[in-house]
Amino acid sequence: MDVSHDTLVVIAKTVGLFLLIAMFLAAVVYAFWPSKKAKFDRAARSVLDDEDGPCR
């Protein structure tokens, strides 16, 4: 199988570019989805007092 340099450049500049943009947007949407705020706030606080269990 021979893939030329030009082919790779085309793929990198089209699929590669939009793939990275899509992944970035997915991360942003996940992190900033409004209804997740309560869940994230709770998670951030959850580590402050974790020596007392409950432990399963």
Partner: protein, 551 residues
């Protein structure tokens, strides 16, 4: 510690250790007369010593089933001690190598004392011995606490921790005997690499199985960082070590890749060892111990998620910046450089997130040296990532590459960020795990802190000066258009900075030794906290809660 295992687990341990001992014996016989045979003996003795420890308590009574309702901290205790032991080994060899470079006579004419053999002992001792053991140890702590769940299994944590130690011992003893596959940070030969793969896959499954048991609905972000560290280091390790052994009874092997592909694979691995071993895993540590010690939630949890994906997706592209001006195609070099610069955004977002967490709690930073360790680590992280992005630019790299500037940069990271964060995490962890009110001596923590900071600053400034001087002397031309300085001129010019580096390293090492004493005395002497903090409080009181403090 053995008595806390069930009898079945003790027998399982003996079976595994027996298999290990047989493999070691086979290696010793097959490789008799070579370094490979010595490694066989090391494997054999290592397995027998642990087996002897297990045998001593084979007949101890079964542990109480109520232990299953508390966190499993025995491997963490062992891990803390091993981490500090590796700090002594790794930093000890580092200081030796530093003096050796300033005073080349310190070789004493033995084959194993050459720079080429001692240097990988230092790097592996620090990165894999000290750093890796600290990562495994803290991850055992973090995964249990953030999941509110006990480690999945009692045998696998020991297998991972002690199996990993065997890998590092094989690697380091091999370098001293001349076993080295000449790949930076991946010097260990094929059999040690295969063993690490077994340990690493077990580690990954242990992590996933513990998370699967979690009582918390959300997986806390520190676990994401630890998991990316384990997963990607595993992938990198496989690809960079695809080698064909010359024989089953010798250490020599040949790597599958050749030429520039090998170089690209090596630096894809090499830089991502920095990225996922020394950054991702340590960010997991930071995201747990910093908010915990400051008693404040992380400034922005959302930003921590965003920077996680930023760091993960940018870092895997940057390895080629180690190969500027080489046979590697120019566009691949430029790709690595571009991603290196973009990487500054999530890196600084992370450093800012850590420092903003402390905003409003600066009085705690002033009073508590443990928290100050973590704060300074975050600052050094910010400096190291800025410098890294800067050095990745091709024009800057032309001056810095192959000079001591690189050494300065690496030590901003390892001394200032990694080791200082480990010390902060350990000072936070030790009293919790051993159920002590506090460290034995807060004053010694304070001393350790200032010695660590002073040592880092002296080391790094020496090497910055040395590196830039060296780089400039290499490229200075005279009127005739030839080089102004001979190579030995540059070596002579670096001598004072080499002495400065050795002094900085010595100061840092003294601080670390003070830390070892303090940790040891905390285990032995510090006042016990009057309660068992990880025991669940149930209405029936059927757990071991006799020492739960009265409200």
């Amino acid at each position: 510690m053995v008595a806390a295992l069930t009898v079945g687990t003790r027998v399982l341990a003996l079976v595994i250790l027996g298999i290990g001992a047989i493999v070691g014996l086979a290696m010793a016989v097959a490789g008799a007369g070579q370094a490979f045979g010595v490694h066989g003996w090391i494997v054999l003795i290592y397995c027998l010593v642990i087996a002897w420890r297990v045998m001593l308590q084979l007949d101890a009574p079964e542990p109480s089933p109520s232990r299953l309702r508390s966190y499993y901290d025995d491997p963490i205790k062992m891990g803390v001690v091993l981490t500090m032991a590796w700090a002594i080994v790794g930093m000890g060899f580092g200081v030796w190598v530093a003096y050796l470079l300033a005073y080349p006579d310190l070789r004493y004419d033995a084959a194993w004392t050459g720079f080429g053999r001692l240097r990988p002992v230092h790097t592996t001792g620090i990165i894999f011995g000290f750093g890796g053991t600290a990562l495994i140890t803290t991850s055992f702590h973090v995964m249990q606490r953030t999941s509110r769940a006990r480690l999945a299994g009692e045998f696998t944590p020991w297998f991972v921790l002690l199996g990993y130690q065997l890998f590092v011992i094989l690697a380091i003893s091999g370098y001293l005997m001349g076993i080295n596959q000449s790949k930076e940070y991946a010097e260990a030969e094929w059999y040690a690499d295969l063993w690490l793969l077994v340990v690493w896959i077990t580690y990954f499954t242990l992590y996933i199985r513990t998370l699967a048991r979690r009582a918390e609905p959300h997986i806390y972000v520190a676990n994401w960082y630890y998991l990316s560290f384990i997963l990607i280091v595993g992938v990198l390790h496989i690809f960079n070590n695809v080698a064909l052994p010359v024989s089953w009874s010798g250490s020599r092997s040949y790597i599958l890749w050749s030429g520039v592909q090998d170089a690209m694979m090596q630096w894809w691995y090499g830089h991502n060892a920095v990225a996922f071993f020394l950054t991702s895993g340590f960010l997991g540590m930071l995201y747990y111990y910093l908010p915990k010690r400051a008693a404040r939630p992380i400034y922005s949890y959302r930003l921590s998620i965003l920077s996680f994906w930023g760091i993960t997706f940018f870092y895997v592209w940057v390895g080629s910046h180690h190969l500027h001006y080489t046979a590697l195609p120019q566009w691949v070099q430029t790709l690595g450089m571009t991603f290196s610069i973009m990487l500054l955004v999530p890196s600084w977002a992370t450093a800012a997130n850590a420092l903003l967490t402390l905003n409003g709690a600066w009085h705690k930073v002033r009073d508590d040296a443990t928290l100050r360790f973590m704060m300074v680590a975050a600052i050094f992280y910010g400096m190291a990532t800025f410098e890294g992005s800067f050095l990745a630019i091709r024009g800057v790299n032309a001056l810095s590459h192959y000079t001591d500037w690189t050494i300065a940069h690496v030590h901003v990271g390892t001394l200032g960020w990694n080791a200082i964060l480990i010390f902060g995490a350990i000072y936070a962890l030790v009293p919790v795990i051993w159920r002590r009110e506090r460290m034995w001596s807060p004053r010694l923590v304070e001393w350790h802190f200032w010695l660590a900071v002073a040592g880092t600053v002296i080391y790094v400034f020496s090497m910055w000066n040395s590196g830039i001087l060296q780089g400039l002397m290499w490229r200075t031309y005279n009127d005739a258009g030839t080089l102004q300085y001979s190579f030995i001129d540059t070596v002579m010019a670096m001598h004072p900075y080499y002495m400065g580096r050795a002094v900085g390293g010595t100061i840092y090492m003294i601080g670390m030794l003070i830390g070892c004493v303090n940790i040891w005395m905390t285990i032995r002497k510090a006042p016990e906290a009057g309660y068992l903090r990880d025991m669940p409080k149930t209405p029936a009181g059927d757990a071991d809660d006799r020492r739960v403090p009265a409200e």
